[in-house]
Amino acid sequence: MNHRERILTALNHREPDRCPMQVSFTPEFAARLEADMKLRGQGLHNPHGGGNTYDLERALDEDMLLTSVGWVNGYYQNGYQDVESYQDEWGVTWRSIEYRTRFGLGKYTEPFGHPLADDHALDSYVPPDPDRPELYVDAERTLRDYHNDYWIVGVTPTTIFECAWGLRGYEQLLIDMATDPGRANCVLDFPFHYHRTVAQNLVRRGVDMIWLGDDVGGQTNMLMSPRMWRTYLKPRMAELIASLRAINPQIKIAYHTDGVVYPIIPELIEIGIDILNPIQPMAMDPFRLKNEFGDRMCFWGSMDIQQTLPFGTPQDVNNEVLLRLKTIGQGGGLIIGPTHNLQLDTPLENFWAMINAIQKTPYGSLS
């Protein structure tokens, strides 16, 4: 069973030989792992896949390879490690900040300057062009080199809401959504149109799956009401997904949102989402999701990075893998992996406990 077959079997709600796996890393964790595995460095690792050689993913026997186009690449824009701030092609200004862990220093980035913060800026704003051929060179290479063996995912999260908050500012965008629908719609349409075209272009090039996403969940509840989500985001996502299926009816659609989103899951299924990611176990109960939605939806993620992976023991990690395989992974329908990029605070012992437990636990051994 090759990697593609493993993923396809799981997504068809059947049990493959073992649970398919996808793991992503921050650049710092990737560098530490490359040293541990004595792999030649591949340059700066992009957790969203853009520009990667996939040496790490292939050495770890992961089953799908990610290739990203879109605003999300601003998070690890080339050169971010050497500067305190930078601007992406949308005009969003990012800050780069250092943090320290017991395993060394890392840097991450966060948007802080918003080109549409001023109301008047909306009138003259021109977003980047999503049809530039150079945006797709990486995806084409990934498909050419790896499509026979691997499940290739076109990555376009921060699809509408998150990119719009980068453009307008988080609080102002939410205030617009509550008080000024015309303005909110205008801001949301910039990333919606851009990422719709990007996703269509990736589907035309032959990716197996498109990964959409917008964080609409917090740790304990949704960030916005289901009603507001239905007003602004559901119709756009539905239209985007329908446009992708018009190009390739077989395309699989994964959707990323952190946090709690129980109230909208039936509607995510209704608009054509096949796979929900990342299933943060400290926010949503994976077993409950499997029971309520497991016959209509697949899941991707579910390994806790808020507690178990950074702060647990290797035994805790092993136990969590087995628990997931027996619950949310029972009967297939799960691509297992950490619920976000592994960060520098995760001990390598825990990382290897996760990889080994996944790889050394055939589905057949669980009954």
Binding site: I97, Y99, G106, E110, E171, L174, L223, Q306, Q307, Q343
Partner: protein, 215 residues
């Protein structure tokens, strides 16, 4: 409906223009500033908290209510000062060193202000030294620390240690919060409380300040 009822309702509905007009009207009616604060603005934000806990309000509704409350408060502030109305307590709030996330921290700050606290917001990426320096300068009752990331959570312990080293820990309560932060982590690092969201942060803050004042 009295003017204060109308004011309360305008804040709950997030109508900042109306909230300002009604604060002006209440002042013109010679309603004491403290009553306008407590029976108009603070009552409204308490109701907003209840609606949040009941799942009726979410972040956008809280934001517009808080904005209306702040608009009203800015007009009322000079009257509160001249009437020598004291805040319930003083809070220093910030996102810890190495962390730039401020959505949760800002919501907590708004809810604390709406509960009658004086809030001094130190911003993001706040070092333990900066907390200590601000604590010396402002003499807060409560220090509130936020972190979104597991990689920056450990800085919360550094803040508590720095307060201890500088002899300030006994004079102030410490509350922590943020997505990965748990009660057991709070106990482990010696914080006084952990809050899961902005509304419970405001409830816990009131309890902590009461405890502190009782000694």
């Amino acid at each position: 409906m009295t003017t204060l009822d109308d004011l309360c309702q305008s804040v709950i509905e997030g109508d900042r223009g109306l909230a300002q007009d009604l604060v002006k009207k209440a002042i013109e009616e010679n309603i004491p500033a403290e009553r306008i604060l407590k029976e108009g603005l603070i009552r409204a934000m308490a109701e907003v908290g209840v609606k949040f806990e009941n799942g009726e309000y979410f972040v956008p509704e809280m934001l517009i209510a808080a904005r209306a409350m702040q608009n009203g408060l800015s007009l009322l502030r000079p009257y509160l000062v001249s009437a020598k109305v004291q805040a319930i307590g003083k809070v220093l709030i910030g996102t810890v060193q190495g962390d730039l996330h401020d959505i949760g921290k800002n919501l907590v700050a708004m809810m604390l202000e709406g509960a009658g606290f004086e809030v001094i917001d130190l911003g993001v990426d706040v070092s333990p030294e900066k907390y200590v320096q601000a604590a010396r300068e402002h003499h807060p009752d409560l220090i509130a620390c936020s972190a979104l990331l597991t990689t920056t959570m450990p800085r919360m312990k550094d803040i508590i240690d720095a307060l201890k080293e500088n002899g300030l820990r006994d004079q102030v309560k410490v509350m922590i919060g943020g997505a990965p932060v748990t009660e057991s982590f709070a106990r482990q690092i010696g914080a006084d409380a952990c809050a899961a969201d902005a509304v419970s942060a405001s409830t816990r803050a009131l309890e902590l300040v009461l405890e502190l004042k009782k000694g």
